[in-house]
Subunit: 296 residues, 4 copies
């Protein structure tokens, strides 16, 4: 199976590495070609443009930042046109629900396939091939790319035949994660305002009711106030809450928690913290409660 891989940021590189190690043949393209040596050493070939990368591929995997980047590469950049008529596009990034639907249609018009396969997990997890994949698309296409999906993941969650539904699940899960962080930030600021140490509060809740990796990981960052470098940036977190709010507007579903988290994120972004980890929502909570004005 010849694979073209478009978009080699930290997550993309991790997955591409795993695929090369599993024996797949990869042609690579990234906007900035820097730091692809390791992949080339592992057998990957570099292409000079998206169109060149995809033209002979059986499967095109994309892991691009957002709707806009994907549009630039696939539509304006010509990759969609350049793909073979029987090739399948596996999109592993989180994109908006309507754009996923649009892409699926454009591919179908050209006789191409489109499978949505957004990932749950961080780059470290991807490097071990232990991502969870949310997969949706026409069964025959999903089956065709199954070996590739299997190689990249610890588990595949089939979501159904309609590609954008995988995006909805991913968007819903990320929304819940943003809310979990914000709830930890709010509760910690409440505890501190009542004279309890942040570290003490976080330890109690993340070892009892919330003894789960997500809470423990973000709790540790808040305890240590270690918001840089970002594991997942506030800017991307805001993008994902925005996708949830858009998907909710489109389907007419009130999401009061998403709206509340979004407003707090804007305080952080306005403060210039877009590149910090999204657990820096704690700093917004501390600032709005003016914890620094309180005696020790």
């Amino acid at each position: 199976m010849k694979i073209a891989f478009l978009g080699l940021g930290r997550m993309g590189r991790a997955i591409a590495k795993v695929l090369l190690e599993a024996g797949f043949e990869l042609t690579l393209w990234n906007r900035s070609p820097a730091s692809l040596e390791a992949l080339v050493d592992a057998g990957g070939k570099l292409a000079k443009s998206p169109a060149e990368a995809v033209k002979r591929a059986d499967v095109v995997v994309s892991m691009l930042a957002d709707d806009r980047a994907l549009r630039e590469v696939m539509l304006e950049g010509g990759a969609l046109e350049a793909m073979r008529r029987d090739a399948i596009h596996v999109n592993m990034a989180t994109v908006s629900v309507p754009f996923a639907a649009t892409l699926a249609k454009l591919h179908a018009k050209l006789g191409q396939g489109y499978v949505a396969a957004p990932v749950l997990g961080r780059p470290e997890v991807a490097e071990r091939g232990e991502l969870n994949l949310l997969v949706a698309g026409p069964p025959v296409q999903v089956e065709a790319v199954w070996p590739l999906l299997k190689a990249a993941s610890v588990r595949i969650w089939p979501i159904g035949d309609v590609p954008e539904q995988a995006n909805v699940v991913k968007i819903g899960a990320n929304f819940m994660l943003g809310v979990a962080i914000e709830s930890l930030a709010e509760a910690t600021s409440l505890a501190e305002a009542h004279g309890i140490e942040a570290a003490e509060f976080i330890e109690v809740v993340t070892q009892t009711l919330f003894a789960a990796p997500a809470y423990q990981g973000y709790g540790a960052l808040i305890k240590a106030r270690a918001f840089e470098p970002a594991g997942f940036s506030l800017r991307l977190g805001h993008k994902d809450i925005g996708l949830a709010l858009s998907a909710a507007d489109q389907a007419r579903v009130p999401l009061p928690l998403a709206a509340a988290v979004n407003a707090r994120m804007l305080d952080g972004l306005a403060n210039g913290d877009g590149d910090k980890d999204w657990s820096s929502l704690y700093e917004v909570a501390a600032r709005q409660a003016h914890l620094d004005r309180r005696g020790s």
Copy 2:
């Protein structure tokens, strides 16, 4: 150690049972004396009034529903006056921050002790003696009641010298739990509005990012729409979110998520669902999204 135990609802009975089995001598009082046979069979003695129950006790344990019930029993009911001057009151219920502070002062005036020991865990957990206890109070008093606390719990979390701080931690933890449920309710309704089965969405998120007992337990209730009988009722959940909002108002801490959850709970309460489990927040989400109007 002679113990008076006031308040024998489901949680109170579970703890009293464990204490009797551990060899403590218990005098019991409950507003409605029904269903205390098992405890009497296990060696507990019944008292006819709170005052009678406490008068010879070294330690008075209370597990009453809310501030009002506690006020009626301890103040208006005369239990505080009737306690020995060297006795210690261990309050295991979730009460408001100012009322905890008030009680501590009143006991101190009479030379009595006051230790806050709110619990994390459900009645089934209490029956196995596996609660987590959040304990705060003057060290010498905490030490004096330690054997009792130890018998009732799997782990004791010392929070410090100021009793009401244990209540703040408990209130913060419960607020986070309410938010977790609401986020699951919102995300599930979003998924359903996009044509994804509730059960499918819940399975994916509670086996990946949110593989934690709290999410899995409430997720199972939502999947099964099994909101009655309540494990923890919407009415009590609303009381606890109210305690968080009060503690936040008192200490001037904005809690936008708590405010959002509270508004959704009021929809449920207004619909007459106060006795359902608080995971029935899902029903509020489904109603406000009018999921029943959508084609299948």
Copy 3:
């Protein structure tokens, strides 16, 4: 008609003055007796305690700060007990719905009357006898105090027989006012972030869609950033939003806007701005949007 007037802050003094000028006989009591000379010069008599003030009065008018002050004066201070059995208490302050109901019952038990008459209007308006009064209570009692109410107001709005319903209307109106201020604060911060002068935006909206005294008055304060001295303080505004949220919790009515305004007020209070005018909500909006970080 002999009147006892309890509570002579700025609003109380304004109303008392108008009543004296209308020929009523007034006995005055205030916690701090300072600055009552003008009223004494106008014919008012000073009493040394609430009980002394009320003992010969046909009507007791109260204008105290909040539930607690009223409780201290009427219940703990003994004024209720000291009132004649056929006297009527006219409460012009904004109190909570349950406390208004409680007071009505206590008075009725002693054969006394209770009429709620909260005011709409600021002290300047009260000085001209031009308040709007929201009046509720048993018709025969309302009729008995009508001349007094008429003297103090430009218009009386009868709300019905149940005293606390007048408080609900007053609380609802003040909630709407808090929301109007917050909406002006948010919209102005949005305009500024897009490079439009605050003064320009405020002028346009308060001379077109919102050409109403409330918007124009608060708009002028925001334009001038003139938040001190307060016409109505953020602390009192927060008390009133709290009364709305309590009334809503009691009656199970979701009020998402009140919850949002409350969270913003807490940011202001935590910043130490309780004594500023409540239009300083603009400062909260500007701070959360970090307008000061933006180039001019």
Copy 4:
């Protein structure tokens, strides 16, 4: 001055009528050509396409429903290309901030002008030539179209040189209007839950603190529960709150009230009420408080 007028819904027809009466020469185009007889009788000429309508015009006025309609007509429909190189486009509709900026750039590239002139006022007001216009654009262009703007309005509010800033002001004003309606809906539902008639509450507040046309107009609709036909539909109101939230996201400004109103609107839209007046937010409030379950 030869004018092309694109978009003749109720508001567009009202303005076109006024311009014809003021002696301007108009070429008209509307997607559906129905109900333009009155305008033709008054001297307007019909065009078969946007391109045909604009090709000889000095000024092109557009009053189209939203970004998408404007894009279809101006870009995909070829009107922009067909305009003379020295013509000026006066856009009187409410469009998004980024699209206004994009349009301004596209026109400038072709040597054409672009003036934003969104309106404040309803169709009845427009028919009397009494709109308020918010006008922004390069001074020389604004001056050139001044006679036209003057004929259509009671007052012109110059907002500055940057066209999209006029849209920001309009979006801010409409956001405030949506909040005002929602606050009236919430407060009225609170009053009703406490046993007060909706009509009584609305009368008191709209004749005292909120004696302004906006509150009185929407208050009357709520009192009469007269939500159809819509003066301004919930669907359009939701579009406008969405524009406010987008403008806020873009400029990083938290708008908690807008987020709260948006969530309530989604309940209404999900219930199938998009074509009702946006004061039907009252029905959402009544439904979430389950007022129909309460005794009369």
